[in-house]
Assembly symmetry: C2
Homo-oligomer: 329 residues x 2
DNA sequence: TTGAAAGCGTTACCAG
DNA sequence: CTGGTAACGCTTTCAA
């Protein structure tokens, strides 16, 4: 038998509407009464019935996060940050690792106040999402709210950065699958930037066909056997770059002496790689903060379309160097 | 304006209790009426109000999972499995990455039917959890339901396996922090097993002081400089073992020619390491299945204490070999 | 086979 | 300041 406000009312000798008010810290209750009620409630181990509350007043103070691909480390870092940011705003977060469609349905049942979507693909399922939501990725051509992490500018400053260090033969290792919009965007961004500087942008692009470190490893092996001899490599993500490093090491190529490496994903873990990797991207704290603030705004104002473009920066560690005079490769 | 069963009733020209029955596929309503109502409901875009349903009938068909440490890869694999197993049983899963205490509170509000706990520490917070739950880890001295992954037997068969391959100088690289019961259990298990075979079990234990690959890397470096020259190393987890491999490689020690390595955590990703690693532990599919089946049983039967001990196995890949006659180290 | 009505535990409003 | 009461949307008897 769970105990309700009526039980409390009985014991306190007041009406249950008064109990309700007291519990909600309403100013309409005399402090003495309020305290008395609060004490009784605690002592009886009262726990409010969420369903009942929800039934009468909307707003659950919960936001849901959809995240079908657990294993990506860059994401888990952002998700952790988002969770903190949400707590800071006195909301709670629940997470679903199912498809967008299933997740939305579940979140609706729970009447979450808003949704954050972390799935790169299948965003079509969002078309008829009646709840406020934001997504993460690329904003181009989108009719719904997205926090654009600005791959184009990221790759732009990356290429220019390498260029300023004297690099002219720059390779890219990443996934170009047409199904994954985010990866594709990075790929195109690099090609654009390279092209603008009159650098090669075709034979130097190496397709990983996947996002695990191993995919980056294999692609780099291929790169090393190709005729394109880069002085610098751009890795498309944390995991991919881990593979790049390993492949390089296996061939006894020293970073940054023999080759420079820079990676997308501006996360602290880059410092823990075998070689602390210089990285580029919007700092995750900023991504997290922007996502929840935007969502909260949408929840309150009912604004519906919203594209916010963030500013990426380069985080210099030790993996990039000036091209040496006597380049051998 | 959301639409309710009353709206449907109005349109269908029946009472709303009939609509309720039809929606719940009750046999008490004539098929024709039922179909008509169902059609109208779909056409009006009806969505049941979960809170209202919850208010009247208990049972949410949702189970919550508490998992405060996102980054551990072995865990994310199990969590994914668990999610699938839960779906198979036509439940849904939501995930919280907050502390046990906060998570329980939130899950209570959502009236989940049960909870799976994945946090190694702070299990005290479970003492007064009124909802059905199971935990994962070590069952000794526990007064609540736990799926025991049997570290003792894991380490037992590991040590015996290495012994049978001729190894006599076996090192262990892992975390011994007294705060993390699971790690401590592995540590003690190894020492026991080693002791039983009369092998050294003190100077060959290397403390990582953390669970990231880097911690394993550093500890292995230390190991290599110590006077204990092992022919085999046991790594305490996937991440730790990744660090071991890297440290070994840096010193040009070849696995398994120069040294054998075996790792705890029986997960498929072991095959993707630089050297496909022989590993030990209960297969994750089995862990996942056991956890949700047990929880479901508890939910139905209201059993409350329950310790289930699983059977670990060794998954041979290529990282362990017979000790060679001319051992050099 | 259908309908009426009584809750489920809260909140919010209106009287007192 | 406090109490009474009407919702909130649904399930579930109990009668018809």
């Amino acid at each position: 038998m769970t105990i309700t406000i009526k039980d409390i009312a009985l014991k306190a000798g007041v009406s249950y509407s008064t109990v309700s008010k007291a519990l909600n810290d309403s100013p309409l209750v005399k402090p003495i009464t309020k305290n008395k009620i609060l004490n009784i409630a605690k002592e009886m181990g009262y726990e409010p019935n969420f369903a009942a509350q929800r039934l009468v007043s909307k707003q659950s103070k919960v936001i849901g996060l959809i995240w079908p691909t657990l294993e990506r480390i860059a994401h888990s870092t952002v998700v952790t940050q988002i969770n903190e940011e949400i707590s800071k705003n006195s909301y709670s977060m629940i997470l679903s690792i199912n498809s967008i469609k299933d997740s939305i349905e579940m979140f609706k049942r729970f009447q979450v106040d808003g949704i954050i979507v972390f799935d790169e693909k299948n965003q079509d399922a969002l078309k008829d999402c009646s709840l406020p939501f934001v997504t993460y990725g690329v904003g181009k051509d989108k009719s719904f709210p997205v926090i654009d992490v600005n791959y184009q500018e990221s790759m732009d400053i990356t290429v220019k950065y390498l260029y300023s260090l004297g690099h002219r033969r720059i390779a890219y290792v990443g996934d170009f699958s047409p199904v994954d919009e985010r990866q594709l965007e990075k790929y195109n961004a690099v090609r654009n930037s390279l092209n603008e500087l009159g650098l090669p942008n075709t034979e130097n692009m190496f397709h990983t066909g996947g996002l695990d470190w191993y995919d980056g490893y294999v692609a780099t092996k291929r790169l090393l056997q190709s005729s394109f001899k880069p002085t610098a490599i751009i890795g498309s993500s944390y995991d991919i770059s881990a593979g790049i490093i390993r492949a390089l090491r296996e061939s006894n190529i020293i970073i940054p002496k023999d080759i420079s490496v820079i990676s997308y994903d501006n996360i602290p873990q880059m410092a823990n790689l075998e070689i602390p990797l210089t990285s580029v991207g919007v700092p995750i704290e900023e991504i997290a903060q922007c996502m929840v603030q935007t969502l909260l705004t949408i929840i309150q104002n009912k604004e519906t379309t919203f594209i916010k473009t963030l500013k990426p920066i380069i985080n210099e560690r030790v993996s990039c160097a000036h091209v040496s005079i006597e380049v051998k490769r």
